[in-house]
């Protein structure tokens, strides 16, 4: 088991290198000159060729591509992500750290909503298949998967905040501010997970072990919870693992709709300001999150499934 974990962790390293390289290349493909952008953002009145050249040298942009990449990676490994162009007195790491908690709160609240809503709803949809509850839920799923998050956000804002004046429209400060954005972010995931759990359970119900459990006269409740649900959730583990980074990255749009001061808002502002170091670090961070969570949940699944665990050790 330990060897397996070490192997998987080592296997993730090439992937991380690829991600960092792609991230570096793509950001540098943006057709404006970082030096010129940096000068413009710091509001230098007259930008001449000489000043640009000077800034390029100062920022190390005149060095060869690979050298710049290596410098950047090495700095990143020392957790030094450079300095923001717009706010030269702030480091990129500091900026991200400032915005990260808000995004984590939003993503965490969404995850809690996703789990506590989709699990029981999916379960009852499968148990009472084709009942009115199942039909209504399926209609709801059909609708919500077709609606983009920013639109749902605006609709909710209009209905809940403006029409009924129940919750604030934007900002963050209290738990009241959290409800609408968290619900908006989680809505698509809730639909996906209800469908996933419902279909997994219906698939499992056809299995021989369920027939045999019925043959042995086990109580219905125990068959549903102990056997069918447990087997169905197993396939959901990996999906949850992939959803966590998706939730963190996917808050961008919703954060902007609700003016939530998290990573997403920071990222959009940086894109408008051409603040390269921030964008680059944000993309890298999200990429790393995907790799880390994928790895983590793969390992969790291996430990949780006796068949896989056996194969590994």
């Amino acid at each position: 088991m330990r060897n397996y974990i070490i192997k998987r962790v080592l296997g993730a390293i090439p992937l991380l290198i690829c991600i960092s390289f792609l991230c570096f290349v793509f950001i540098n493909l943006i057709p404006s000159d970082p030096a010129e952008v940096a000068l413009r953002v710091s509001q230098v009145p007259v930008i001449t060729e000489e000043i640009i050249a000077e800034t390029r040298a100062a920022m190390g942009l005149d060095k060869p591509y690979l050298v710049r990449y290596l410098d950047w990676v090495i700095n990143c490994l020392h957790l030094d992500f450079g300095i923001s162009y717009t706010n030269p007195d702030r480091t990129v790491g500091g900026e991200l750290l400032r915005c990260l908690p808000a995004t984590l709160v939003l993503a965490g609240a969404s995850l809690v909503l996703v789990i506590f809503l989709s699990l029981p709803i999916g379960f009852f949809c499968a148990v009472y298949k084709d009942s009115w509850f199942d039909r209504i839920t399926r209609g709801f799923i059909f609708m919500t998967t077709a609606m983009p998050a920013y639109w749902v956000g605006l609709l909710l804002m209009w209905l809940v905040s403006i029409k009924f004046d129940l919750l604030p429209t934007s900002g963050n400060g209290s738990w009241k501010h959290l409800i609408l954005p968290a619900f908006t972010v989680s809505l698509t995931y809730i639909s996906t997970y209800i469908r996933l759990i419902r279909n997994n359970m219906l698939e499992n119900m056809k299995e021989d072990y369920v027939l045999y459990a019925n043959v042995r006269g086990l109580p219905q409740k125990s068959i549903l919870v102990k056997h069918i649900l447990k087997n169905s959730l197993h396939t959901c583990i990996v999906a949850v693992g992939m959803s966590i980074p998706q939730l963190i990255a996917g808050t961008i749009v919703v954060e902007n709709v609700f003016a939530w001061p998290g990573l997403g808002t920071l990222c959009i502002t940086s894109i408008f300001n051409r603040d390269y170091p921030v964008i680059q670090t944000y993309v890298l961070l999200i990429g790393v999150l995907f790799v880390v969570f994928n790895l983590l949940f793969d390992i969790i699944q291996t430990i949780a499934d006796p068949r896989l665990k056996n194969e590994v050790s």
Binding site: D208, N214, R216, K226, P306
Partner: protein, 276 residues
């Protein structure tokens, strides 16, 4: 009264959309104590359906009519919960694919114990003792270790024996074996058949043995019921069926089997000549 199960006019229809399809029609048979009824037929002839329809194991799309009286108790139309109490305790069943019949995530021990918990009020230590007794009776080596194993770590033959053990430990009045030898290899088939013969001799349990294998039926059945496309094709003693079958379908089954056996014996004979 020695009759354990009396089935009369049992019919099953499947509803698909607006159409209904008749799957079983007018099945009649009785099973007495200590007697084994063999149900013979090819795949899709309705053998398993007969057993499942009596025990309420079919889903809502199926309509079951007729009567199946188990010890003066009508099973057809009985509530789901009361059938659940009967299943596994009074009427036990052994299924076809031992490898897929156990929950892959649960240990064998816990799957044995949950059966006890469903039907008895034994305390933990008695449950444990009974589980060990069951495994020992089925000649499983290292029963304590096997209890801690997951299904994928055991062989098909072992799982089949555990399934028989679970069925018999509750001392049911009726044992239904649904193609118990189809999915396992020849050596295990032999030992599983021996197991069933023992059960018949020792416990005097009434038994329904469902199979498409004439050889297995010949080993164990007293009475034979031949099913073809959901109807009874032939019915009678084993000897009668083998030698004076009335129905052309039954005769075909027996002829084919005889032809296969002849080819097998010829092949074996030639091999012997070659090495002689």
């Amino acid at each position: 009264m020695n009759t354990v199960l009396e089935v009369k006019d049992l019919s099953v229809a499947l509803k698909v959309g607006n159409n209904t399809k008749q799957i079983l029609s007018n099945i009649d048979f009785t099973v007495d104590k200590g007697q084994c009824l063999g149900i013979l037929g090819q795949s899709g002839s309705g053998k398993s359906m007969t057993a499942k329809s009596m025990l309420g194991l079919l889903d809502r799309n199926f309509t079951v009519t007729g009567s199946a009286v188990y010890k003066e108790k009508e099973l057809i139309g009985e509530s789901k919960e009361s059938l659940r109490d009967i299943r596994g305790k009074e009427i036990a069943m052994v299924l076809q694919n031992p490898m897929t019949c156990f929950d892959p995530l649960c240990r064998i021990g816990s799957q044995i114990l949950e059966t006890f918990q469903a039907h008895t009020d034994w305390d933990a230590s008695k449950q444990q003792a009974k589980a060990l007794e069951l495994l020992e009776r089925m000649r499983i080596h290292d029963p304590l270790e096997v209890m801690e194993k997951h299904p994928h770590q055991l062989s098909g033959g072992m799982l089949q024996r555990i399934m028989i053990g679970i069925a018999m430990i509750m001392e049911p009045s009726l044992l239904i074996a649904d193609e118990p030898t189809t999915a396992i290899d020849a050596i295990n088939q032999y030992s599983i058949m021996e197991e069933f013969k023992n059960i018949k001799n020792e416990y005097n349990t009434a038994m329904i043995f469902i199979t498409h294998d004439l050889g297995a039926i010949a080993k164990i059945a007293d009475e034979v019921l031949v099913l073809n496309q959901g109807r009874i094709a032939d019915k009678g003693s084993l000897h009668g069926i083998l030698h004076h079958a009335a129905d052309p379908y039954t005769r075909l089954l027996i002829e084919k089997r005889a032809a296969v056996m002849e080819r097998y014996h010829n092949a074996l004979y030639k091999e012997k000549l070659r090495y002689a």
